[in-house]
Symmetry: C2
Subunit: 333 residues, 2 copies
């Protein structure tokens, strides 16, 4: 039986979207049990599936709260309670769509890092034109990492991508400003040398930001600052282009409006492929348990996908064991 | 009289597009003289405007050449000859659409840095939805800069944006992964403190990558690595979205195709606004003369815009003098 704790109160559409997503996911897997952690009085469900149990938690960590302070003060929050279940090994995985900083800090403080992993990495899937996506890490957890951290990101990302995409030796790219080995800042130049030497990696070299969506690799390695800029630049540009097109149509008279109506069905599937919430959430790799960040604006389908693809998928695999083996289970940095 | 040297041989469409752009620009300004530097035998023009003079240079630095080696070996290249004209103060500005690395290295080596500026910054205009654009710097020249360098980027960028947009005290934003002052890596945290204290800047705080196109500031400050990733992520995503839409239309049957045809005129003006080549080129700020990088794929209109907006515009202003005054004209780092 695979047990998963879900933070019912985190995210813009909590608890409704979370509860619905949990119910949808629970029905798909007989060998999964979900603990829905949150304010019992706000979770209104008439018939919960048998494999879903509500765990009452009276407090909620809001998005704008400072992570460390919130974790310290709100001991009975849904997030803290869910992470405690992970620490006590009552569950194999935690899913939350709430405060990202609180999840990242709480995961390290409560669940704990794998010895030898100094910086856990947040690893969402960025959209690619072929619809498969690319695992990018780190995307906001690790500020100012060292080349050794990025090597570890590459290794952890490879193990995760193998499970997620069902492939051996996924291609690993290094986010850089040019394809030549000597390009970039000191961090990526040193990282390039480390990745080239690593026998356990299928390193395909530097990948430029403009080529990320071309699907040249399954794993894209970067520091958390640059990765976050990349993710948000892609999000913001795609959104701006779609909204710019909409505005152009609205200002373009009847002809443009009719044209847009005719094009709509064709565009819909393309927009869905661009929407990375379809891929589910982002694991925080390097922790003793499986912690998954779900997008803050997650709807029920995203929550369901996150539970099935990332939480259940990783818990049913041996990725955690393999990551632990990477470092020999020792803090040696 | 404002004199400008243009590298006729640099860029994907050289020399034709460059020559055409030069002719278009030359006709617009009576008080401007252009030196068109390149292989005379390949520049075929029957009637050159009176204010354009060809300067013969027999060699060409290609895009794939290593900058330093190319500069050393090709003394009679169009780029080296143009930069020498700048050093000898025969021209106030140089424009090239060729090898970016060679232009950046050559500009420092041949024209020279302003004393006190340790790292020159490349400052292109990124597109914004309102069509004005935002000056972003640095976007690829300065790897691993210090907070003091970023402060200087903010100051130089402000001076440039004032002239370009014709405004006082342009708003300066710092590219970061969140709006709060304590967000980001060590570099941006220290830079945030410096920018907050700077009396000569209209600092509006952190700007996230997803908001760049919203036009929240006229100057966006970042290190060259992150800036280059931002620029290319925006370029790549916009291109991917447009090509994805095209594919969806092609696969979408007659209805979608008719729809696309009807929408085309409305979309055209929006696409033009997104095309930052409309804005011209990117100055390399911090040098003793005015050096402008024109996009490698520049067409004649981009070349014309670059000559008029950046080269002529900056040469006719007192920006260079003001940048020199910033540092007191001394190397003190």
């Amino acid at each position: 039986m695979i047990r998963i704790a879900v933070d019912a109160m985190g995210g813009d559409n909590a608890p409704q979207a979370i509860v619905e997503g949990v119910i949808q996911a629970a029905k798909l897997k007989n060998d999964m049990e979900i603990f829905l952690v949150g304010d019992q009085s706000r979770i209104n469900v008439s018939d919960l599936p048998q494999n879903v149990t509500i765990i009452n938690a009276t407090e909620v960590i809001e998005n704008q709260e400072k992570p460390l302070m919130a974790l310290r003060r709100k001991k009975d929050s849904s997030l803290v309670r869910a992470l405690e279940l992970l620490r006590e090994q009552q569950v194999a995985a935690v899913v939350s769509a709430g405060n990202t900083g609180a999840l990242m800090a709480g995961a390290s403080l409560i669940a704990g890092r794998i010895p030898g992993v100094t910086k856990p990495a947040l690893a969402p899937i960025l959209p690619t034109l072929d619809g498969r996506g690319v695992v990018a890490l780190d995307i906001g957890a690790a500020m100012d990492p060292k080349p050794e951290n990025l090597l570890q990101f590459a290794q952890m990302g490879s193990l995760y991508a193998s499970v997620l995409f069902g492939i051996d030796r996924p291609r690993v790219g290094l986010l850089n400003i040019g394809v030549e080995a000597e390009k970039g800042n000191e961090l990526v130049k040193e990282t390039h040398a480390l990745l080239t030497k690593a026998q356990d990696l299928n390193f395909v070299g530097n990948v430029e930001a403009r080529d990320v969506m071309k699907g040249l690799c399954e794993v894209l390695v970067c520091d958390g600052f640059t990765g976050n800029v990349l993710l948000k630049a892609m999000e913001g540009t795609a959104q701006a282009v779609f909204s710019g097109i909409k505005e152009a149509v609205m200002a373009g008279g009847v002809k443009a409006k009719v044209g847009a109506l005719l094009m709509k069905p064709a565009l819909k599937s393309f927009k869905a492929r661009m929407d990375y919430s379809e891929h589910g959430g982002a694991p925080l790799l390097g922790l003793k348990g499986i912690c998954i960040k779900c997008h803050g604006s997650a709807n029920a389908v995203t929550v369901k996908n996150t539970i099935i693809k990332q939480a259940y998928g990783l818990a049913a695999s041996n990725v955690l064991e393999k990551i632990t083996n990477l470092t020999g289970g020792k803090d040696n940095e």
